[in-house]
Structures are given as C-alpha cells and as structure tokens.
C-alpha cells in the first residue's frame, strides 16, 4: 500500500519535473539575443524539412477528406431537400475542426516523429555534446530553428488543407452530384465569417503547432541515447501530441464556439 502510494507520488513528481524541464528547454532555446543572420539559413533548411516535405501528405489528405465530407453530407442533406447547405457544412467543418486538427495529427506523425528521431540520434551519437564542446549552444542552434519552423509551417499547412478540402467537397458536391454551383458558394459565403471561423481556426492551429513541436523537440532532446530509447521517444511523441491536440481542441472549441 505504502509502496503503491510512493510509486504514485514518484510518477507525479516525474511528470511535473518533465513539464518543468521542457519549459526550461524551450525558454533557453528561444530567449536570448536574437541572431537573425546565423539563424536564417538554419530556419530555411528546417522550413524545407518540416514544411515543404509535409505539404504533399497534407494536400492529398485534405482533398480526400473534403471529398468524403461532400459525399456523406450530400446523402444526408438531400433527404431534407437542403443540399445547398453542403457548402457551409464542408467549409465550416474543415475551417473550424478538421483543418487544424487533422493537420496537427498528420504533422505529428510526419514531421514530429522525424524531429524526435533526428535530435534523439544527435544525442545518441554525441553530436549535441560536440556542439557544446565547441561552445555552440545546441538549444539555440538545433532546437530553436526547428521550433520556429514548426510554428510557422503548421498554420500554413492548415490553410492549405482547408482550401484543398473545400475544393474536394466542391468537386464531389457540385461537379459530380449536381448541387447548384451558385448556391454552394453563396450559401457558404453567407455562413462563413472571417473572424469567427478562419481566424479562430488559425489560432487553433497555432496552439497545436506550439504543442506538437514542443513535445517532439523535448522528447528527442531527452531521449535515452540507445536504439530502444529513441524508438520509445518517437512513439511517445506521436501518442502524446495526438492526445494533447485532441484534448486541447475540445477546450479551444468550448472557448471559441461554446
């Protein structure tokens, strides 16, 4: 009994310590004298690795999710003779929920796991220690550009996801199933608001970007420097960031649209 309580206490303290260590890591990586000239090439490289290479999966998933929304929405709405409401249904579900959330989940799987594995391997092969030996702060040189790249790219990817998804819904709804073209767009326009829907979706994906990138970097930075350690860290990145995204999504939705 006492041993159990002690284990519980130990686990709790470990978790709190982890959160603290992660915060300190992020703080040290981001706060300090900015060095734009040194940072910029590193940032561009990470923008390429994190953003450009995630673009294809985001675009294709967005297109198919939009098409499925169009198809499913149509079969239900046509029963009520309200298939003109397909436009706002597709647009609002993409802009408010699916765009930010699915982008964050795909981002965690595609880019987050890669970040963790990369930094974990740097740790395992003592590249981070060598940087320190050369008086280069690995937090500033390795962690910070990757963090900013993640934060910058994810909202952009979410916009692309929503736009492509709406186009997918348009293709299925209007061009295949024959919903009226003008009604599709005009009802959509009268229901989608810039502030309420697009800006709130942007805020959501910004929050998800910070959380997912942060978890990925922390897990990589603190991974045990062994093969199973890196493997476990990569798995944890995907699991934790997915759970965090879904949980935070509910909280944010309740605040924004509740």
């Amino acid at each position: 009994m006492i041993a159990m309580l002690q284990r519980l206490g130990h686990a709790t303290l470990e978790n709190i310590r982890g959160v603290g260590a992660a915060s300190i890591m992020l703080f040290q990586a981001l706060v300090g004298k900015p060095q734009p000239l040194k940072m910029f090439p590193l940032l561009v490289r990470q923008l390429y690795v994190v953003g450009v290479q995630s673009m294809l999966i985001i675009l294709i998933s967005g297109l198919f999710i939009g098409m499925v929304l169009g198809l499913q929405g149509y079969t239900i709405l046509v029963d009520f003779g309200a298939e003109q409401a397909l436009g706002p249904m597709v647009a609002l579900s993409l802009l408010r929920e699916l765009g930010p959330v699915v982008t964050a989940l795909l981002f965690a799987g595609r880019a987050g796991s890669a970040l963790t594995a990369e930094i974990g391997l740097m740790r395992a092969t003592e590249q981070l220690s060598s940087l320190e030996m050369m008086a280069v702060d690995p937090l500033r040189r390795v962690v910070a550009p990757r963090f900013w790249a993640g934060v910058i790219t994810m909202p952009l990817l979410a916009f692309m996801f929503s736009a492509v998804g709406i186009y997918g819904g348009f293709m299925v709804g209007v061009q295949w199933l024959g919903v009226d073209d003008g009604a599709f767009w005009s009802v959509m326009q009268s229901n989608v608001e810039w502030q309420q829907d697009i800006i709130n979706g942007f805020i959501k994906s910004l929050v998800f970007a910070v959380v997912v990138t942060w978890i990925a970097l922390y897990k990589g930075y603190t991974a045990a420097p062994t093969s199973p350690g890196i493997s476990a860290a990569t798995t944890q990145t995907v699991v934790y960031s997915s759970l965090a995204v879904l949980g935070l999504d509910f909280v944010l939705t309740a605040i924004m649209f509740g």
Binding site: V52, G81, L95, L156, F159, A163, D180, G182
Partner: protein, 155 residues
Amino acid sequence: MTTRTMELMVGVFVAAAIAALVFLGLQVANTSDSTRGETYTLVAKFDNIGGLKVRSPVKVGGVVVGRVSRISLEGEYYEPMVEMQISTRYNAFPETSTASILTSGLLGEQYVGLEPGFIDDFVEMLAEGDEIPNTNSAIVLENLIGQFLFSQGDE
C-alpha cells in the same frame, strides 16, 4: 540539395499557403454556368424579398437561367429592388411575365421564379434594364399565421 533549391521550395510552399488563404478569404470561384456567358439585366420590385441573397438563382420552371446580382432599396417608399443577370440565351420574356420569390423545398434556399406570360400583338419583350411589372413577394410565415389567426377571429 543546394541552398538555392531549398529556398526556392520554401518560397513555393509559402506562396501555396498564401494562395490557399486568399482562396479562403474570397471563398469564391465566382463563375457559374448560366451567368458565365453574355447576360442582360432585368429588375423587379417586391414588397418583401424574404431570405433572397445576391447570387441566388433565377429559375424558369426549375431551370436556372440567371443570378440575382444586386439587392437594394429604391425610391421614395423604400421598395426592395432585385437586379437579375439573365443569360442572353433566354432573351424573349414578354412583359406580362411574373417574378415570384419562392423557396426550394421546406428548408431550402430562396430563389426568383420567373414565369413567362402570354404574348399578343400589344405585348413587348423585356430588354436590358427593363422592369418586370408583376411580382409576388416572399411568403413570410409569421404574416401567414397572423392572417390565419385574424380570419379565424372573424367567424
């Protein structure tokens, strides 16, 4: 991967994101089959346009022949005036035609239903900018219920 190619790809990425944002902001491909080609304008005054919106369809017997292009209040008595762009393929509506504001389905969108009228020697065809004289306004459910209750009271 040289720095140059990498910067180029990042540029393409950002440009694609901006394009997506512009698309979301404007939300349109403001093209539609029946208003894409040549159109001419007809106007109609209603007492009440209900939930009619700009870009709502104009239909003849259920077939889309044009779009509502502008809705405004006109004249001394603030009458709602609806401007419609009709495809020039359908350019022979007699001036005895009727424009009504109808609802598609029970919950659907409102549209303008055009009904061509009779033609005899004295009837002319509507041309660019002409007004359709005969109109039926949108049915407002509350007014309908009010009238029903009022007529019940009389008996």
